[in-house]
């Protein structure tokens, strides 16, 4: 892409003109490429005055109460069971999550034990933990999310990565937007996940690792085999 093409893509992203694969590509660039993100911001700033021309419409207390209701007792970055149940069901249905085998009780115990172990071993203590399970229900990695929103991945099992391939970590926080890439790695190793530009993680948020071509998925969506996956749970 030439600089002009990149800036035009940033403009189209800021305007909201893009659909489908192009929209995904631009959203991914905005997350992973600081120059591109800056171009998008610059376009937003150029066009922001158009928002100011919209006629203000009384919003009223009823709408505020609905917002409050949705937030419930949610303390910053926390729980939203209603919305989550919906999202969780969507994950369940759309990805065939936990399909077939289901979650063996032993694996659940192991996940909990592993989570607690990691919890105890790390400072500061994570507020959310996801145990990522392989197809055969082995815990192969843990995702920790701290109170400050930072997230990291700790592998618990070595993964053979063929040459020319990488491990790509994904999270799904918005079904409409689809999975978002939060990390790339040549091999199974500790990894800080790039979640800065994403909404704070919530309970029952899906994390997964796929095998992708070097440099990461060319489409911005998981294309390779899912090696492991799991959803976040609140750490006690």
């Amino acid at each position: 892409m030439t600089p002009a093409e990149r800036d035009a893509l940033a403009a189209e992203h800021a305007l909201g003109l893009l659909e489908g694969a192009e929209a995904v590509r631009a959203a991914r660039l905005a997350e992973t490429d600081t120059d591109f993100a800056a171009s998008v911001e610059a376009w937003r700033a150029r066009l922001a005055e158009i928002d100011e021309t919209a006629t203000a419409v009384p919003a009223g207390d009823a709408l505020w109460h609905r917002i409050e209701q949705r937030l419930g007792g949610e303390v910053h970055a926390a729980r939203q069971h209603a919305a989550l149940t919906e999202r969780w069901l969507a994950v369940w249905n759309s990805l065939g999550f936990w399909r077939g085998a289901g979650l063996a009780a032993g694996a659940a115990c192991l996940a909990l034990a592993a989570g607690l172990f990691v919890l105890a071993a790390r400072q500061p203590a994570p507020v959310l933990v996801a145990a990522l399970l392989t197809d055969d229900n082995r815990v192969a990695a843990i995702v920790n999310i701290g109170a400050d929103g930072r997230a990291n991945l700790i592998p618990l099992a070595d993964l053979p990565v063929p040459s020319g391939r990488v491990l790509e970590v994904w999270t799904l926080w918005d079904r409409a937007r689809g999975p978002v890439s939060v990390g790339l790695s040549q091999r199974a190793q500790r990894l800080d996940l790039k979640v800065d530009d994403l909404p704070r993680a919530v309970p029952d948020q899906l994390f997964e690792i796929t095998l992708e071509p070097a440099g990461g998925s060319p489409t911005g969506r998981p294309t390779g085999q899912i090696l492991m996956k799991g959803v976040t749970a609140r750490a006690l």
Partner: protein
């Protein structure tokens, strides 16, 4: 409410308010609602045209802001830009989802006929500012296309339909228009 007077809340900048929201201050979120929700509803209504959908977009936006105010980086843009980016993202998502299901096509057209045209939007922009000057300097069709895309959330495909031009033509034509606009504003 929440120990902060209306006057004091109004005086807070959007940036400062977002900082407080990021710290878990529900009163600050309410202050943001009081200050910005009417305009946000107007912006969403222009895109979605139906009140119920526009309210849904504003509601989603505030929930997102509550959860993500911490990701707002003052170095990257203004607080208001952050707020409206969240809102427009939600509104466009709802718009595209509605377009796919296409349940209320006829009703939408009724509202569409009353929609504020791009000329009216441009006329409301301050003549003292670069955006107005530079939009005025563009060919009217190009100007209208940019304003329709931004204010009403039209996609490339919808613009092509409206202008009666092939999709590829509209894309490259709009790109050139946007780059000309940037040139003029720099």
């Amino acid at each position: 409410m929440h120990g902060v007077s209306d006057a004091a809340r109004a005086a807070l900048s959007v940036e400062e308010t977002l900082r407080r929201v990021a710290g878990g201050d529900r009163g600050a979120l309410r202050a943001l609602y009081d200050a910005e929700a009417p305009r946000m509803l107007g912006v969403a209504l222009r895109i979605l045209r139906r009140r119920a959908l526009a309210e849904e977009a504003v509601q989603d936006a505030f929930v997102q802001v509550w959860r993500n105010a911490g990701s707002f980086d003052p170095a990257r843009g203004t607080g208001r830009a952050f707020l409206y980016a969240v809102l427009r993202y939600r509104a466009l998502n709802i718009l595209r989802a509605e377009a796919r299901t296409d349940l209320n096509d006829a009703a939408d057209h009724d509202v569409a006929s009353e929609e504020e045209g791009p000329d009216a939007v441009v006329a409301r922009l301050s003549e003292a500012r670069a955006l107005r000057r530079c939009l005025d300097g563009l060919d009217p069709h190009r100007r209208n296309a940019i304003v329709l895309a931004y204010a009403h959330g039209l996609s490339h495909g919808e613009l092509a339909g409206r202008l009666g031009l092939p999709l590829g033509t509209v894309k490259s034509w709009l790109r050139r228009s946007l780059l000309a606009l940037r040139e003029c504003m720099s």
